[in-house]
């Protein structure tokens, strides 16, 4: 049976993933919109930066995030200036790190959806008196809904499955930064295989269900 320690880690993980997914949709939609429609030379470099977390080892990402958020990094200076606690080894720091880590999983599906719809719906909206902002909210976003749902699912699942970056940036402080993946690591380190099983098995089942939902949706989308 899960212990209160397990439940706390699960709750923390879900809280983190929910907050991160919500923020990433807010950041990711405009960013994806820009990437999908810009003709600026910045498109390629920015697109590459967004995709970096896909290829970098979490340790590299975590290392630089730690430096950035540390007392001498730009984010660290900002938090000092604002008079708030430094971000490393806090829940807020975990949120910031996860935003970076899961960014491509949210931006890319939305960007694909925007690119697939082309210019025509927006041109039609413009000839029907919709300003660009109006057309974004009333035409582009609704038409990109399948992409947005995919982005939310992937962003949530990927944040839940995060390990290396969390360990680098957040450590394993109970109720603050010790998410499920970190707790499993701790249990295995202490040879508590039975406790690890509960959590690892749960994660396996969760991930499978998420992917099943995702691929099921895609298949339905193709036929419907």
């Amino acid at each position: 049976m899960p212990t209160s320690e397990d439940l706390a880690a699960i709750w923390l993980t879900l809280k983190l993933a929910t907050i991160v997914t919500f923020l990433l949709l807010l950041i990711g939609a405009p960013l994806a919109w820009w990437l999908a429609r810009t003709q600026s030379w910045l498109k390629a470099p920015l697109g590459a930066v967004v995709a970096l977390p896909l290829v970098l080892p979490p340790t590299v990402l975590g290392f630089y995030l730690l430096l950035t958020m540390g007392p001498h990094g730009p984010l660290g200076r900002l938090t000092t200036f604002l008079g708030v606690a430094p971000l490393p080894f806090t829940f807020a720091g975990l949120v910031v790190a996860s935003l970076v880590y899961s960014l491509p999983f949210v931006v890319q599906p939305i960007q694909n959806a925007f690119e697939a719809m082309g210019d025509r719906p927006l041109e039609a909206a413009a000839t029907l008196r919709a300003s660009p902002l109006d057309a974004f909210f009333t035409v582009a976003l609704p038409l990109a809904r399948p992409g947005l749902v995919t982005a939310a699912i992937l962003g949530f699942a990927h944040t839940v499955g995060e390990f290396g970056v969390v360990l680098m940036v957040g450590g394993a402080i109970p109720d603050k930064t010790r998410v499920v993946s970190v707790l499993i690591y701790d249990q295995v380190e202490s040879m508590n295989y039975e406790r690890a099983h509960w959590l690892a098995g749960g994660m396996l089942l969760f991930s499978f269900c998420v992917l099943l939902a995702l691929y099921g949706r895609r298949r339905n989308g193709r036929h419907g």
Partner: protein, 364 residues
């Protein structure tokens, strides 16, 4: 510039393509921009809509200036009182038909009563579709909804970019009569882009012919299309004539209708029982000429006319423009060989033979 008239001047250059047009267009009626693909007709239309910005463009409509780059004026598309119908209808798939219709209307701050929504939907036969989703409509229905959606904003100008080109022949025939009604009932200028001569002759009051980004001819469709039709593939088969004639009698035994026209009797291989007047459409390639009245022929419709103009193309065909008795004009496409062997010349009186099977209101 007359009331509501349009002045448009656009110059644009991409690699391999240049557009250079300077047009004064009438403030009402249908003006067709005709030309082959790549002639710049759609680009010119997009410039009018403001979807493409010509760097030193000028566009005035009535008293409004929508673009005058010399003075730094460029009104963005969404602030222009125009309606546009795209080739693929471009209905919003996340909205119902009603949602699509309301989209522009509410943004233009027009009420359903002001826009005459019910009458318009009635006229376009889409009133029953209000709750349907665009995916469930036929191509012709989609295009009619798109037309209504554009008109409900009460535009000063209606732009149509090959609205029938994406439809198959049957669907095209669904929509064409509606376009003809719109032309007769709307009092705003309509710019109609097409590469199909038959659409242009049926719908447009005037045709502007574009080729490689420039205006090469302009005038009444029957005047310019015979020579312009060679610009588009298969175009010479698309030159069509439209004559108005009065229904005289329906012969039920043979299933034919007799119509009276000043130039002679026209026979249609169909029963036109409900109409008093019919618009008869016939292809130029289905109209033959004879110097003397042929006697033993199966052709039942023989009209009298005089040759007004001869356009000999470089191909095998020649277009002969005729003035019929009564003043209507008609184009016949015959071979150059026949032209020379019959020694047809401008001013000659001829008999105009039209196969009755070719006479069909729906004959496109």
């Amino acid at each position: 510039m007359a009331d509501g008239a349009i002045a448009a001047r656009f110059r644009l250059a991409y690699p391999g393509f240049a557009l250079d047009v300077d047009l004064e267009l009438p403030g009402r009626g249908v003006t067709a921009l005709f030309g082959p693909s790549g002639s710049g007709k759609s680009t010119a239309l997009r410039c009018m809509a403001g979807l493409t910005r010509a760097p030193d463009g000028l566009l005035k409509i009535g008293g409004d200036v929508w673009q005058d780059e010399a003075r730094g004026v460029f009104v963005p598309t969404h602030r222009r009182a125009l309606g546009m119908v795209f080739q693929d209808a471009s209905l919003f798939s996340h909205l119902t038909v009603k949602g699509n219709l309301d989209y522009g209307m509410t943004r233009a701050r027009v009420t359903a009563a002001e826009a005459g929504r019910d009458a318009l939907c009635e006229m376009l036969d889409i009133a029953a579709l209000a709750e349907r989703w665009p995916d469930t409509l036929s191509g012709g229905e989609r295009q009619r909804v798109a037309i209504a959606r554009a008109l409900l904003t009460r535009p000063q100008l209606l732009l149509m970019d090959e609205p029938l080109a994406s439809l198959d022949v049957a669907r095209r025939l669904d929509v064409l009569p509606y376009l003809e009604r719109l032309r007769d009932e709307l009092d705003i200028p309509i710019i109609y882009v097409s590469h199909a001569p038959e659409e242009v002759t049926r719908i447009a009051d005037e045709a502007v012919v574009l080729d490689r980004g420039r205006v090469v001819a302009r005038g009444a469709p029957l005047d310019v299309l015979p020579s312009a039709s060679r610009l588009v593939e298969g175009g010479r088969f698309g030159v069509v004539n439209a004559l108005k004639a009065r229904v005289v009698a329906v012969d039920d035994a043979y299933g034919v209708t007799r119509l009276a026209h000043p130039a002679g009797e026209i026979l249609i291989a169909a029963r036109l029982t409900t109409q008093r007047e019919a618009r008869v459409v016939m292809r130029a390639t289905d109209v033959a000429l004879a110097m003397s009245e042929p006697r033993d022929t199966s052709v039942r419709t023989i009209l009298r006319g005089r040759i007004e103009k001869i356009d000999a193309t470089e191909s095998a065909l020649a277009f002969v423009t005729l003035t019929l008795v009564g003043g209507d004009r008609l184009v016949s496409a015959i071979t150059r060989l026949a032209l020379d062997e019959l020694r047809l010349t401008v001013g000659a009186d001829v008999f105009v033979l039209v196969k009755s099977v070719a006479l069909d209101e729906r004959g496109l």
